[in-house]
Symmetry: C2
Subunit: 191 residues, 2 copies
């Protein structure tokens, strides 16, 4: 069941994802969610608390989208990892190669001006690094990772390359940065 709180996060989250947190006014969020101001403040003490809750909301959203790919143990670990990024490539194609990563966007905008956001966003990246490290280590155990690659720094590097590809995508307004990421990561670095 979708609660009113979830509904506000979903509607407001879509606007923040595109326009950014600071550029999104409370009125826009209320209008998109079709709720009165009192309802918003019943669930969130402030716009900041709403923003912090968005980090969890975005995480839960994309975990739900890619879980089937990641849990598919019929596929080797590197294919699951490649499928994870390809799923997002499909998502961004549908969106017209805009918006980028909501976690990356909030980090860019608020990471170094708001300590509460920084901590929460860093934890989000750390979770993704741990998950990618596990997949790369599993590939290593199966002899499917080149010997000179250590799982953790490789995971950190790939996450950076992905975040940067999503920034370049917004400048290129097309798929090249994501396709270059997929090719270089899976056909060159990990091959």
């Amino acid at each position: 069941m979708t609660t009113t709180r979830d509904h506000i996060l979903a509607c407001g989250g879509r606007i923040v994802h595109h326009k950014g947190f600071t550029a999104t006014g409370l009125q826009e969020i209320l209008h998109a969610a079709d709720v009165p101001k009192g309802s918003f403040y019943f669930y969130f003490k402030s716009k900041e608390e709403f923003g912090l809750a968005l980090v969890d909301h975005y995480q839960a959203w994309f975990a739900g989208q890619v879980r089937p790919i990641l849990k598919d143990e019929t596929l080797p670990p590197l294919e699951r990892l490649a499928g994870f990024f390809l799923w997002f490539r499909g998502y961004f194609e549908q969106e017209g190669f805009i918006k980028g990563c909501p976690i990356g966007n909030l980090t860019q905008e608020l990471g170094d001006v708001n300590p509460a956001f920084r901590e929460k966003l860093n934890a989000s990246f750390d979770g993704l690094i741990r998950f990618m490290t596990r997949l790369l280590a599993e590939a290593g155990t199966r002899g499917e990772l080149p010997d000179h690659l250590e799982p953790e720094p490789t995971a950190r590097y790939i996450l950076s390359a992905w975040q940067g590809a999503l920034i370049r995508m917004k400048a290129a307004a097309g798929p090249e940065p994501l396709d270059t990421f997929q090719h270089m990561t899976f056909k060159v670095l990990l091959a």
Copy 2:
């Protein structure tokens, strides 16, 4: 000679670099530059025109900083490229690992909501890709680039990895993402 226009760009640019474009008010820019509003509007038709001029300003600033490293023909091309990124690592250490890339920040914030910014920021990334491609091709000619790497996609990937490392730096509030970038790019990918 520093003109009033340059002075406004330098003072305003420092605030925008840290806080973002939307979050920076005109009053803050006027206050930092110690100029009246009429002076700002004499040089810039609008805040948007000021923002577009900032892209050139940032580019000129960092080109000036790293030119001596890039032009140092006593060094092999990959060492010049490594020195380029190490210079920025030093800069960000001095700044406390905040702010990130001003071009990347503007792309994240405005790339897909403002076509004039998108075009200008994309041209800026393209310039950097061309320059990195030339260095990698030069390394190739000298037999210093692994055979399986093509200069252009490799340059595009490294630029993405760098932009993403700068986002992760803002979440990590420390050097790990930049050090991982340097290690993985120069000791693993290009080695």
